[in-house]
């Protein structure tokens, strides 16, 4: 069964035809719209090699609506001629006829009629000849009969100028038998169905070809957040390097752990309202490890452990103030304090990645909240060279191999260094992280042994791109 009666007829005619047939001719024979035959050709084409169809464009002359009217009823000038009786007609009356205006001047120039301007009741029109030949009508009838080629080029163009003829381009198909021609074609199947599989009918069925240049349908799936995918990558890198994850699940921290424990003096600008979010409720920490607090207080105000201290009046009230932690180093301080209380000392490698908060005005490059990545190693006799070596391995895993180090200042590390990497795109060195050895004034009051060094580094997750491999 083919696609409808037109396709059926087309196939039957084609079977009988010698060579092929023209779609427009078939349409004319069947008395259907040409478009119906074109549709049948296309649906047969989609079935494979049943037919072959060659697109042809032919030019044809067609009558305009006015041309049709003239072919039927005669030209305007002929109609004017016929309406003039032998006794003549008043010109004003003639002009009121439908063809009057156009027909009058044409009939005049053909010398079929004349005007007597001296007549008693105004100008009067009279026949000049007894009969005439209406060539315009005859020519248009030829075109209508499909014999436009019998007209001279000049004649056609004159009729076109009078907007009686138009030339139209017709796209038709020259249809011939294909290599798999058959009058009993069946419709192609769109897809394999369970019924076809169970009945085995797929063996006898033609299938519609696929359009391989179309896009596929995206899987209907959920997605992980891109930044948190990077977080996963960083966790993985730390775990590969043998680092244990520190607990950081306390956004609210006391000034003591966030600043004082890190030997950050109480007048430090970072402790200003402008830089840090302080809490109204709970405004103060309820408990602090008081023994340790006293050692911190003494180190700040008087020094000790080989330090001059900052020589100022250290206030417990200031240390109690609660805030949204400004860095995860507060959590590192807690972890190192716990480590210091475990005897004997065991070396550790720690990391954390979590949210921190700063009182920043939000814009394209500043967030009031971001994720800090931090790595910490504590062991006997660690050096600046060790820090650089660990950083090199860490950044190599991120695909960053060109590193250099710049002396820097951090309140709680000494020596301190900023890590720069060469940015191929920007063609310059850009800062990728900050690092250093924690100050003895931070470590010794915790109770860590004197010859234990702690190296640490930090970077911001938001500034990282996804590590090179593997994706996703």
């Amino acid at each position: 069964m083919a696609d409808g009666p037109v396709a059926d007829v087309l196939l039957r005619r084609l079977e009988a035809a010698d060579g092929g047939l023209d779609s427009a001719e078939l349409a004319a024979e069947l008395g259907v719209e040409h478009q119906a035959v074109v549709g049948a050709v296309k649906s047969l084409q989609a079935l494979g090699e049943i037919i072959e169809a060659e697109l042809r464009s032919t030019k044809r002359w067609e009558l305009t609506a006015e041309g049709e009217e003239i072919a039927r009823e005669g030209s305007h000038e002929a109609r004017v001629f016929r309406s003039v009786p032998p006794e003549g007609l008043a010109q004003s009356e003639l002009m009121r006829l439908p063809s009057g205006k156009v027909g009058f001047s044409k009939a005049m120039s053909n010398k079929w009629i004349r005007v007597d301007k001296s007549a008693a009741d105004g100008p009067r029109v009279f026949r000049v000849v007894d009969s005439m030949e209406d060539d315009v009508q005859r020519r248009l009838q030829l075109v209508r009969g499909g014999q436009a080629e019998k007209l001279a080029e000049k004649e056609r163009s004159e009729l076109r100028k009078r907007k009686l003829l138009t030339e139209v381009t017709l796209k038709t198909y020259w249809v011939s038998k294909g290599s798999a021609f058959s009058t009993s074609v069946s419709k192609q199947e769109a897809e394999l169905s369970p019924e076809m599989i169970s009945s085995g009918s797929w063996r006898d069925r033609p299938f519609k070809p696929y359009n391989f240049s179309a896009h596929g349908v995206l899987p209907d799936s959920g997605h992980l957040h891109p930044l948190l995918k990077v977080r996963t990558q960083f966790r993985q890198i730390f775990l590969e390097m043998g680092f244990t994850e520190m607990p950081t699940d306390n956004f609210i921290e006391s000034s003591f752990w966030n600043f004082d424990a890190l030997f950050q003096p109480q007048q430090h600008p970072a402790r200003d309202q402008h830089d840090t979010f302080f809490l109204q409720d709970p405004a103060e920490a309820l408990q602090l490890p008081m023994d340790y607090v006293h050692r911190v207080k003494r180190t700040h105000s008087q020094g000790g452990y080989g330090s001059q201290g900052y020589k100022y009046t250290w206030k417990l009230d200031e240390a109690r103030k609660n805030l949204l932690r400004t860095h995860t180093t507060a959590a590192s301080a807690r972890a190192l304090y716990r480590l210091a209380r475990k005897k004997p000392f065991t070396p550790i490698k720690y990391f954390s990645i979590d949210r921190v908060f700063r009182n920043e005005t939000l814009d394209a490059t500043h967030l009031a909240e971001f994720h800090q990545i931090e790595g910490v190693v504590a062991d006997h006799g660690l050096t600046l060279g060790h820090l650089m070596g660990v950083l090199r391995e860490f950044f190599t895993k991120l695909g960053i191999t060109q590193l250099r180090f710049k002396p820097a200042y951090n309140p709680y590390t000494e020596p301190s260094m900023e890590v720069f990497s060469y940015h191929q795109g920007l063609k310059k060195w850009v800062e990728v992280g900050n690092s250093g050895l924690f100050r003895p004034e931070m470590l010794l009051p915790m109770g860590l042994p004197e010859n234990v060094s702690v190296i640490a580094w930090g970077l911001s997750l938001e500034r990282q791109r996804e590590p090179p491999v593997p994706r996703p």
Binding site: E245, D249, S254, Q308, I348, A368, L384, R404, E414
Partner: protein
């Protein structure tokens, strides 16, 4: 990090050579500075106020250099040049000396009224100084840099510099009622009372930031000379009478403040930097300060302190193997004059008054490392052997995140800044911002919320929550419920009331549509709620479709 702006050509002249921008950038990097920007006054004005305003402005090239926050000795051209020249071994670090005057010593007497507002003062005299326009500008700029940094915007210390020849000592630092203080301040043509001045300066873009330090105090600090001339009303403004000019030869400097240590450091920095231009270079004339208790002290302190550090400690901390002699040389290049003494392993280091940042041996170690060159240090891996562990809560979170995405939900990351107690509003805002996306929208987030908890040392704690929302033309309670069932399946929590199982029970909550809310119980405790959101909630977030949500605490499943 403070940024110091210096004229490039002036800098090169003082350094005795020129550099390309790249060479100077390299030198800065090595020394721990950062050449932040190369610009000119004209460029700065044109950037900030447009080309029109910049017409006629100077196009002298300026280097903007970032200086570490603890290096007050590098906050002016003079200090930068000195630091770099010593670093490059082109000069030796100068020895700063305090000298007694030929005649009578200048005295500053502190009265007890200052106790409650600004109890400390120190002073010194720069004798026979020679200013030029550039030196003068640098002198003013250094005071400004110190005010902004170590002085904590004049709250801790405020500096006043005066033409000593226009004044007559001894000076008195006292505190008076604002209405009783009347003088002609800098760059004004008539006298005002302190009350009037505080009003006038409310609209002064520069000074308005300092008013709060003394505003609303009953007494304002003020310094007089023996004729009753007001030198300054710290920390706001100096008097016009003793204003220094390019012709000033003798400068009286006073620093008042609430932090004695910092006041002494600030004074030391100013006089060490600018005594370079005194007739007797690097000498500073002493001044005596008498405290309310009658004790008197001489300033500036200009104290040199000796520290002893073992060479092997430096080598061990940096990870290098240098001889003690070489280490001493490296330190000397950082303005820390050092020599090897004792058993040949001891290095004696002299800390000059310019280096208040050196408070521990670790600061000395850093300077040795800088002079050695950070990038010359051999990188090594520590032999620290450790077994890695994940923080269990984060491990659980990571596992669940992947399964949530596999269940067709998309992860959101929303701000925690308000120290929120629930994740739901963040997800609803995310949906509101993504209304154009095709329905259904299925989002989740696993993150911490914060609640008060008096059992914790800070009085608050985090809980790890899992929240999911389903937004579509239908409420989709069954979808959210199905997600809960899937989560429980993953966590190996069976359905049912049995111990260790989970169940949902009809409940209510202000966020939910009545009759469409259930409470989730698992492992014997309530862990959260799920349900269809109340239309009022939906519309408050400017949403138009039904929405269901689930929010549970995942910590019981650890």
């Amino acid at each position: 990090m403070p940024t110091v702006s210096v004229k490039r050509d002036l800098l090169f002249k003082a350094l005795g050579r020129t550099y390309t921008d790249e060479e100077f950038d390299e030198l800065c990097f090595e020394f721990g500075l950062e050449l932040d920007e190369i610009t000119s006054e004209k460029e700065i004005i044109s950037k900030e106020q447009g080309d029109k305003k910049a017409e006629g402005a100077s196009d002298v090239v300026l280097y903007k250099i970032d200086v570490p926050a603890n290096r007050y000795d590098l906050l002016c051209l003079e200090g930068l040049v000195r630091g770099l020249q010593v670093f490059k071994e082109r000069i030796k670090a100068p020895l700063y000396k305090r000298v007694m005057p030929n005649g009578e010593i200048q005295k500053l007497i502190i009265t007890e009224e200052t106790a409650k507002i600004r109890p400390y003062a120190v002073a010194a005299v720069l004798r026979n100084i020679k200013f030029t326009k550039d030196r003068y500008d640098s002198f003013i700029e250094l005071q400004e840099k110190l005010h902004q940094n170590i002085c904590r915007k004049r709250a801790l210390v405020a500096i006043g510099a005066h033409d000593l020849d226009s004044l007559s000592g001894p000076f008195t630092f006292t505190a008076k009622r604002p209405s009783d203080i009347k003088f002609k301040p800098l760059s004004k043509t008539k006298e005002y009372t302190a009350c009037e001045l505080m009003n006038i300066y409310k609209t002064d873009n520069h000074l308005k930031h300092y008013l709060h330090i003394i505003e609303n105090k009953p007494l304002y600090p003020v310094i007089y000379d023996s004729n009753g001339v007001i030198l300054s009303m710290p920390p706001i403004i100096n008097g016009n009478h003793s204003k220094i000019t390019l012709n000033t030869r003798n400068v009286f400097i006073e620093c008042t403040g609430t932090d004695f240590t910092k006041a002494k450091i600030v004074l030391d920095i100013i006089v060490t930097m600018f005594s370079e231009y005194c007739e007797n270079q690097f000498t500073v004339e002493a001044a005596e300060v008498v405290f309310p208790n009658g004790k008197s002290y001489t300033f500036p302190e200009l104290a040199y302190r000796k520290e002893m550090v073992r060479a092997d400690l430096i080598n061990k901390k940096v990870g290098i193997r240098e001889t003690p002699e070489n280490l001493a040389k490296l330190l000397t290049r950082m303005c820390l004059k050092s020599e090897v003494i004792g058993d040949g392993n001891q290095i004696e280091i002299e800390i000059p008054p310019t280096r208040a940042d050196i408070i521990h041996a670790c600061d000395i170690v850093e300077d040795a490392a800088i002079a050695y060159g950070y990038n010359n240090i051999q990188m090594t891996l520590p032999k620290t052997y450790t077994i890695a562990n994940q923080f269990p809560l984060n491990k659980l979170t990571e596992l669940l995140r992947h399964d949530m995405a596999a269940a067709g939900f998309t992860e959101a990351l929303t701000f925690a800044l308000v120290a929120r107690t629930t994740l739901l509003p963040g997800l609803l805002k995310t949906i509101a911002a993504n209304r154009k996306m095709p329905l259904p929208l299925k989002l989740f987030e696993i993150s911490d919320i914060v609640v008060k908890d008096s059992s914790r040392d800070v009085g608050a704690r985090n809980y790890r929550h899992l929240c999911a929302v389903y937004y579509n033309k239908n409420p989709g309670f069954e979808i959210i419920h199905g997600l809960l069932d899937r989560i429980m399946q993953l966590l190996d929590v069976p359905p049912g009331e049995k111990k260790g199982g989970y169940v949902i029970k009809a409940s209510e909550g202000p966020a939910f549509f009545p009759g469409r809310c259930a409470e989730v119980f698992a492992r014997g405790q309530s862990i959260g709620k799920l349900g269809v959101l109340h239309p009022d909630v939906i519309t408050k977030f400017e949403l138009t479709m039904p929405c269901s949500s689930l929010e549970i605490n995942i910590e019981p499943f650890l």
